[in-house]
C-alpha cells in the first residue's frame, strides 16, 4: 500500500515535470514580446469555415493560416484600414491574370513551408481550394459570390503553380481568395485525419491546425484562451512584432476596459462606446477609432408586409425618424452618419455605403402618410436583439417617440439573439434594427447581398427588377465607367424606394496599450496580430 502511494506520487511528479516544461520556456520570453488580447467572445474553432465559428475564430485564422492572396492596407487619417482594391500575394509570391480576366495563375512562394517544416506543394493548394468549394461548411456559399463553385475550376499547372478559372471575368473572384474561408491547408496532415464521413477533416481541423501562417497555435482552450507562438520561418509578409499572442476570453466588458487601462492587457475591441469615451479622456491608453468602412446599421422594414409594402409608407417613416438624436443617443455620435446628404436624385459618386438624402421632416411625413391612405396612422412592432440592446434600446425609444407624432404607434419588442435571428431569417419581423458587415465592400456586392434574392441578408425582402438586373451585370463588368454608372443607378433607386434605412457606420474602436502600434481595421472586424508591434 505504501509502495503504491509512492508510485502515485512519482507519477504525479512526472506529470508536473511534463507540464512545467513548455511553461518554463514560455516565461523565458519577456512580457514585452507578448501581446495579451482580451475579448468578450471566444475562439470556438480553429477552422473559420465551420458553421457557428465566431468572429474571433476568423481573426485567429488570419494569423495561423495563409491564404493565396491578401488585401493591402492604407492610411485613413491617422489610422490604418484595409484596402480591398490592393490585392497582393500571400502564400503566392506572384499572381498573374489572363487578359480576358478569366484565368488566375498562382505561383507558390519559393521555400514556403508548413508549420511542421514540410514544403508547400501545388497539391496542398489544390486540395485546400477544392475543400473551400466542396466541404459542408460556410465556405462554398462565400466562394460562389466570386463565381468559384467547382473543383474543376482549379488545375495544377506545374510544380508550385496552380490555376483558377472562372467562366466570366468576375470582379470578386480574386477578392474571395483573401477572405478567412480561403485558408491554405497542409493537405498531407489534414488527410491523415479525414474519414469517409468527413473527407475534408472538418472535425479534426476544428480543434487542430494544419497551417503555415505567421503564428503557430501553442495552446487552444475553447471558451477560455488560445495562445499563439510566432512562426519565425514565415515569409508571407514582414515579420510580426510579437513573439507570443494570448487571446483570452473575458466576458465582462468593464473588466476588459480595466485590464487595458491598468496595463495588464494590451488590446481589446468591442468595448462600450461610453467606456471608450471615458478611456480616451483619461488618456492612459491609446484608442484607435475607425469608421467601419464596410459596415452599417440599418432600420429595416419588411417590404413584403403591409403597410411597408407601400413605398409612401416607407418614405414617410424615413422622413419621420430623428436621425441626429438617434445617432447621439445610440452611439454618442461615434461613427459616420449615413443620413443628411444634400444630393436629391443622383449621388455624387458610386461609393457605397455613402450618406443618403435622409432628413427629419415631420410635415412631409404626415403628408406622405395621408397619400398612402393611412391618415390616422397605424400600429407596428419594432424588434431589437438583446445582443445589440446597448445601442438599439435608446434608438428604439426615440423611434417610438418620433413616430407617435405622425400617429404611428410602435411597440418595442426585445428578443434573445437566437430568436431574433430566427424571426429575421423567416422574415416575420415587420420593423427592426441590426448591424451588417460585408466582407468585400464592392458596391455591387453590397447590393447583391443586401438587396436582392429571397435570402436572409436581404433584410427588407426587397425585390426590384432593375436592381436585380444591374447586380447581375455589374458582377462581371470590366469597364470601370460602366460599372460606376450601374452602381450610381442602384444608389438612386435605393434613395427613391427606401426599402430600408441606412443609419450610420459605427466606429470600430480598439483600445490598446500606448506603446502598441500598427493597428489596422480589417473587413472581418478583428485584430490582425501580424500588423502590431511595440514601439
Amino acid at each position: 500500500m505504501e509502495f503504491n502511494r509512492r508510485q502515485g506520487l512519482a507519477a504525479a511528479g512526472g506529470l508536473a515535470m511534463g507540464a512545467a516544461l513548455p511553461a518554463g520556456e514560455a516565461s523565458a520570453q519577456t512580457r514585452a514580446e507578448t501581446l495579451r488580447y482580451v475579448t468578450g467572445n471566444t475562439v470556438n474553432s480553429l477552422d473559420p469555415s465551420v458553421p457557428g465559428s465566431t468572429r474571433e475564430s476568423f481573426g485567429l485564422s488570419m494569423n495561423v493560416y495563409d491564404r493565396l492572396a491578401a488585401f493591402g492596407r492604407k492610411r485613413l487619417g491617422d489610422n490604418w484600414v484595409f484596402d480591398h482594391n490592393d490585392i497582393r500575394g500571400e502564400l503566392a509570391e506572384r499572381i498573374d491574370r489572363s487578359p480576358d480576366g478569366r484565368t488566375f495563375t498562382f505561383h507558390i512562394r519559393q521555400g514556403a513551408t508548413w508549420h511542421d517544416g514540410t514544403p508547400v506543394t501545388a497539391e496542398d493548394v489544390k486540395w485546400s481550394l477544392d475543400r473551400a468549394v466542396s466541404a459542408r461548411s460556410l465556405a462554398p456559399p462565400q466562394m460562389s459570390t466570386g463565381s468559384i463553385t467547382s473543383p474543376d475550376q482549379f488545375r495544377i499547372a506545374g510544380p508550385r503553380v496552380v490555376e483558377m478559372m472562372v467562366e466570366r471575368p468576375d470582379r470578386l473572384a480574386l477578392s474571395n481568395m483573401c477572405v478567412p474561408y480561403a485558408i491554405m491547408i497542409n493537405s498531407t496532415l489534414a488527410k491523415r485525419h479525414a474519414t469517409t464521413d468527413d473527407p475534408w477533416a472538418l472535425n479534426w481541423l476544428k480543434d487542430n491546425s494544419a497551417a503555415g501562417g505567421a503564428y503557430i497555435v501553442e495552446q487552444h482552450r475553447p471558451g477560455t484562451q488560445t495562445i499563439l507562438r510566432r512562426n519565425d520561418n514565415w515569409r508571407g509578409g514582414a515579420q510580426p512584432g510579437f513573439r507570443r499572442v494570448i487571446v483570452q476570453t473575458v466576458p465582462e466588458v468593464a473588466t476588459r476596459a480595466n485590464l487595458v487601462e491598468r496595463g495588464d492587457a494590451d488590446l481589446s475591441i468591442d468595448l462600450q462606446p461610453s467606456d471608450v469615451a471615458a478611456l480616451a479622456q483619461r488618456g492612459r491608453v491609446k484608442v484607435v477609432s475607425v469608421p467601419q468602412t464596410n459596415g452599417f446599421t440599418h432600420i429595416s422594414m419588411n417590404n413584403t408586409m403591409a403597410p411597408f409594402d407601400d413605398v409612401k409608407v416607407r418614405q414617410a417613416i424615413a422622413a419621420a425618424l430623428p436621425y441626429q438624436d438617434m445617432f447621439q443617443a445610440a452611439l454618442f455620435s461615434r461613427g459616420r452618419a449615413l443620413f443628411g446628404a444634400d444630393w436629391t436624385t443622383t449621388p455624387p459618386n458610386s461609393d457605397f455605403p455613402q450618406p443618403m438624402p435622409l432628413h427629419t421632416n415631420l410635415e412631409r411625413a404626415r403628408e406622405l402618410l395621408r397619400e398612402s391612405g393611412h391618415p390616422n396612422g397605424f400600429s407596428t412592432t419594432f424588434t431589437i436583439g438583446t445582443g445589440v440592446s446597448a445601442w438599439a434600446e435608446p434608438m428604439a425609444a426615440l423611434i417610438k417617440e418620433s413616430l407617435a407624432r405622425i400617429n404611428i404607434n410602435v411597440d418595442i419588442r426585445k428578443l434573445p439573439d437566437a430568436q431574433f435571428n430566427t424571426g429575421q431569417a423567416e422574415r416575420t419581423l415587420p420593423f427592426y434594427t441590426e448591424g451588417g458587415t460585408a466582407w468585400l465592400p464592392a458596391p455591387d456586392y453590397f447590393f447583391r447581398l443586401y438587396f436582392t434574392r429571397p435570402q436572409r441578408w436581404n433584410f427588407a425582402s426587397f425585390n426590384n427588377e432593375e436592381i436585380n438586373a444591374l447586380t447581375r451585370e455589374a458582377q462581371f463588368e470590366t469597364d470601370a465607367a460602366k460599372y460606376d454608372a450601374a452602381c450610381k443607378r442602384m444608389i438612386e433607386i435605393l434613395a427613391a424606394e427606401v426599402p430600408l434605412i441606412l443609419a450610420w457606420q459605427p466606429l470600430h474602436e480598439a483600445v490598446m496599450a500606448r506603446n502598441v502600434d500598427g493597428y489596422t481595421y480589417w473587413f472581418y472586424r478583428q485584430a490582425d496580430f501580424r500588423d502590431l508591434k511595440r514601439v
Binding site: 457557428g52 474561408y181 475553447p222 471558451g223 437566437a418 431569417a425 466582407w439 447581398l449
Partner: protein, 353 residues
C-alpha cells in the same frame, strides 16, 4: 440510542448505510429521467432556431441552415431525437456544443472543478463568517452586536452579486492593485499545475508548488468573497435562530446549573444541537450557489459551468443546456444525500432514510 433501539442489520452499521445510500440513489433515477425529458422538451419549445443562429456566415442561405440543422440532428422528428439523445446519454455522450465546438462532456468535465472550487471556497468562507456571527448575535440578542450582524446580512443579500463583484474589482484591483487581475483561475502568465483533480488548490498542493497555490488562492479570494457575502444572510440568520432556541432549552439550563464553563456549554452542547438546521440550509445554499453563480463567473471570467450554460442558452444551443441541467440535478441529489449522512454524524438519532 439508535444502535440499541434497532436490531443491528447484517453487515454491520456501515453496510446498512451503504444499502440505504444505494436505495436512495436508485430512487433518484426517475426524478433525473423526468428532468432530462422535461429539459429536452423545454429547449425545443422555446422560440429561437439554433440552426439559423449558427449558420450566420455572410451568404449563408437556407441550404446552410438546413446543413447545420442536419448536423445537430434537428431535422428528425422530435420523438426520434429524444430516443437518440437518451441512447447517447446511456453511453455517456451528452452531445456537442456549437458554442465552444467541443463535446459537452469534455466541456463540463473541464469546467465543473472550477465551479466546485469556487463554490466550496465561498461556502467555507461564508460558514466561517456566518457561524461566529450567528452565535455572537444569539448570545447577545437585541444588542448593538445583534443589529450590526443583521445589518451586515441585509447588506449582503441586498447587493446583487454583479454589483458587489464589480465593486470589489474596482476597489481591490483597479484602485488599490492588491488583487490580481480578475480574469479566471490563474494568472495568464503563470505556469499551470498538472491536471490531477482539476481543483487548482489541491493540484498545486499535491505537487508542492506553494507559490502557484498562493497565486491560485489570490485569484479565488475576490469571487469567493462576492459569493460568500451573498449567502451570509441565510446561514447567519439560521445559526442565530437555532442557537437561540437551543440556548433556551432545558439541557442548556441544566448544564449551566451544573456549573459547566460557558465555552463548553456553547461549543459542545448548544452548537452541536444547533447545527442541524444550518447543515440543511448549507446543502440548499450550496446547490443554489453552484447554479446561480453565473453572474460571479461572468464578472470574474471564471471558466465555470454556469456561465457556460448561459452562453449556450442565449444561442439556443440545446446540448450544453441539457447537459448542464442533468449535471445540476445529479449534484443536487448527491448533495442532499451527503447532507443526510452528515445529519447522522451530527445527530445519531437521524439516519439515512
Amino acid at each position: 440510542m439508535s444502535e440499541i433501539a434497532q436490531p443491528a442489520p447484517r453487515g454491520g452499521k456501515w453496510g446498512a448505510v451503504g444499502r440505504r445510500v444505494g436505495v436512495r440513489l436508485l430512487s433518484a433515477v426517475p426524478a433525473l429521467f423526468g428532468v432530462l425529458v422535461f429539459t429536452f422538451l423545454l429547449m425545443r419549445v422555446l422560440p429561437g432556431d439554433p440552426a439559423v443562429f449558427f449558420a450566420a456566415g455572410a451568404n449563408a442561405g437556407q441550404a446552410e441552415i438546413d446543413m447545420v440543422r442536419e448536423q445537430m440532428g434537428l431535422d428528425r422528428p422530435m420523438h426520434e431525437q429524444l430516443v437518440r439523445y437518451l441512447w447517447d446519454i446511456t453511453r455517456g455522450n451528452l452531445g456537442n456544443s456549437m458554442t465552444t465546438g467541443q463535446p459537452v462532456r469534455t466541456d463540463l468535465v473541464e469546467r465543473l472543478p472550477a465551479s466546485l472550487e469556487l463554490t466550496f471556497s465561498a461556502l467555507l468562507l461564508a460558514l466561517s463568517l456566518a457561524l461566529p456571527l450567528g452565535i455572537v448575535a444569539a448570545l447577545r440578542p437585541g444588542t448593538v452586536v445583534d443589529h450590526v450582524v443583521r445589518f451586515l446580512c441585509t447588506l449582503g443579500v441586498c447587493v446583487p452579486t454583479f454589483v458587489s463583484g464589480l465593486l470589489l474589482i474596482y476597489v481591490f484591483y483597479y484602485l488599490l492593485a492588491w488583487a490580481p487581475d480578475p480574469t479566471g483561475r490563474l494568472d495568464i502568465f503563470a505556469a499551470t499545475p498538472p491536471e490531477i483533480t482539476g481543483f487548482l488548490l489541491i493540484d498545486f498542493a499535491l505537487v508542492g508548488d506553494w507559490e502557484g497555490w498562493r497565486a491560485a488562492a489570490g485569484q479565488l479570494i475576490l469571487p469567493a468573497s462576492t459569493m460568500a457575502l451573498f449567502v451570509l444572510a441565510p446561514l447567519a440568520r439560521m445559526t442565530r435562530a437555532s442557537m437561540l432556541a437551543v440556548l433556551g432549552s432545558d439541557f442548556v439550563r441544566t448544564a449551566k446549573s451544573l456549573g459547566l464553563s460557558n465555552w463548553r456549554i456553547i461549543v459542545v452542547y448548544a452548537l452541536r444541537n444547533a447545527l442541524l438546521p444550518v447543515l440543511t440550509i448549507s446543502g440548499i445554499v450550496f446547490s443554489t450557489m453552484l447554479g446561480a453563480n453565473v453572474l460571479v463567473e461572468k464578472v470574474f471570467s471564471w471558466p465555470g459551468v454556469a456561465s457556460y450554460a448561459l452562453d449556450a442558452l442565449l444561442a439556443s444551443d440545446y446540448a450544453p443546456v441539457q447537459g448542464f441541467v442533468l449535471l445540476m440535478a445529479t449534484i443536487f441529489v448527491m448533495v442532499n444525500l451527503l447532507i443526510d449522512i452528515l445529519y447522522g454524524v451530527a445527530d445519531p438519532r437521524a439516519s439515512v432514510a
